[in-house]
Point group: C2
Chain length 335, copies 2
DNA sequence: CTGAAAGCGCTAACAA
DNA sequence: TTGTTAGCGCTTTCAG
């Protein structure tokens, strides 16, 4: 059967508490000789702590939870990797769960019960509804991560959607595009990521003294590659004068590039493209994808600082941090 | 403070056990009227079970662990998504951790203590060493997932590396390629994924009555896009007669395509390319990536069957399942 | 159908 | 420096 502290205590002829003290390396709480004896027993028996019991007792594990809408978007994969790296610095580890995407029941990831499993939770709110998040009541610190507008009682690290979209669109205009589509955009929506970026696209036109095309917003039922590809192909067949596309995410941009190719047009000669997110992949597709870099590292660092602050019990008002975007120019726009 | 069963019991004037019975929906263990009273209290107080306590007591959570070498490879993202979907069918959920990639300490993900946190663990063994895995001693069921050759005492679902590589290479030869590189290959290695696929590449040549190029194996320090791109570019400059490339993974294939483009050659006219994995992305890059599909869904289904079998305590000998690969033809090879 | 007692493995607080 | 006591919140006996 599984070996407990009790076994180790018996084997080394000390009390439970002494074993606990050794295991947790409490400074100067146990004599060198005893410690050695205990460690020997630990080794011989192959004892390892029961994290579940420890957690029940003192409420701490080294586990931080990250809840993403879905596992299979590279955007989240990159986010996960960055966070894991940042947390590793302080000896904690990341455990990732999925909230959305699949069936209804997956909202269970947001349940108090599951959240309470972690020392703190980072919640990627893309695709989540305000109300779902607003329902969360828990003593576990939660930090929101992402673009949506969300209940202000939470700490929130987000990126400057409107500014980034403005930057992207302005770059297209600057490079000569005069018929610029926003693929994945949304007019008159709520404060969603898509609506906010669409506003940036509009404002960039206005600031350049232009008016966006009437039919300039090409909404997508889903921000998926296949979907973007299909819609763009159809659209370019109808309105071949399109010479610039702001894709609302890099993921969408991949589909946009494929759609342009399907329409037998060239990038950037016929149509220039800018994405948003700066996925690692964007550097290695052909042509390289011009995009908006949201300073992921900064965001991740800030997010971890926020959870640490909360874990430490600091009682400051909720913080809302915004990361500015930066333009990264590659081959999908003209030199 | 947090609400416990005790609070609910008090509030509804019943005993702890009755509340537990209601919460766990034990059939016919509690009268309808009492149940309603309890549920009302649960609702009113906003009670949710403490999963940690439950786990300590009965050793079960609905949590299955998946340990991947790294978060930011699309291959694992897709695996995670598939597994989560499969597990959701039976009301369990997936929690993903990272084993490799970053610092030394990350091997901690394989520690008994962390593994014991789950009902069962799926371990993606790509990049793990035999010995690391062989050290694992735990009562939690572990199913290995992936290509490496591993201690046979574990259940293991893997794919037919040699067969798949054979299929890929034979296709290139069939389409007229006579100078076929394997990018990311490895000669005389141990039973690693790279070595096994390299053997398939060799055998395909032999079966076609050809001998592979002497310099046909282009090893990569890492199976990364950037790395593959660089090596391929350099290599094509040296030996422009290369007319076919088998990329050891789709990830590598992306880099290969970029490298070919850097060398101002065309795919598939000048160089044909086949990958391995059938990543979703492969369909949407230009040109579409011909690849080997390892029947991911089958693998995932089998893996879940295996863990269920072990969780149920069936005492059958370790199973080793192999999924055959199938060729998926797209634009990166000739019609 | 409902309840009381015991204990999962650990650690905080105190005593020796 | 070491040991004892108590209890985290839950579920598994076993009695009523």
């Amino acid at each position: 059967m599984t070996i407990t502290m009790r076994d180790v205590a018996r084997a080394s002829g000390v009390s439970l508490m002494t074993v606990s003290n050794v295991i947790n390396g409490r400074p100067g709480a146990v004599g060198t000789e005893t410690r050695l004896r205990v460690l020997e027993a630990v080794d011989r028996l192959g004892y390892e702590v029961n994290l579940t019991a420890r957690r029940l007792r003192n409420g701490r594990t080294g586990a931080i939870g990250l809840i993403v809408p879905r596992f299979d978007h590279p955007y989240f994969g990159e986010l996960e990797a960055r966070l894991a790296r940042e947390l590793a610095k302080s000896g904690r580890h990341l455990s990732v769960e999925q909230s959305g995407a699949s069936a209804e029941g997956e909202l269970a990831a947001l349940s108090h019960a599951r959240i309470a499993t972690y020392d703190a939770v980072l919640l990627s709110v893309v695709g989540l509804h305000y109300d779902d998040v607003d329902k969360l009541r828990t003593s576990v610190p939660i930090v929101l991560l992402g673009e949506q507008s969300m209940p202000s009682r939470f700490d929130h690290v987000q990126l400057d959607n409107e500014g980034g979209a403005h930057l992207a669109t302005a770059h297209l205009i600057d490079k000569g595009a005069r018929n610029v589509l926003i693929v994945g955009g949304e007019e008159d929506g709520p404060e969603s990521m898509t609506a906010t970026r669409t506003r940036g696209w509009e404002r960039a036109h206005a600031d350049a003294g232009l008016t966006p095309r009437r039919d300039g917003v090409l909404p997508l039922p889903e921000l998926e590659i296949a979907c973007a590809r299909e819609e763009v192909r159809k659209r370019l067949a109808e309105t071949p004068e399109i010479d610039g596309i702001f894709a609302i995410t890099d993921q969408v941009a991949i589909g946009v590039l494929a759609g342009i190719h399907d329409a037998r047009l060239r990038v950037p000669e016929d149509v220039q493209v800018v994405g948003f997110d700066n996925l690692a992949l964007g550097e290695h597709i052909t042509p390289g994808l011009t995009t908006i870099d949201p300073s992921h590292d900064w965001m991740v660092k800030k997010a971890v600082e926020l959870i640490d602050q909360r874990i430490a019990g600091e009682d400051v008002p909720p913080q809302h941090l915004v990361s500015p975007g930066a333009l990264v120019v590659r081959g999908s726009t003209k030199a």
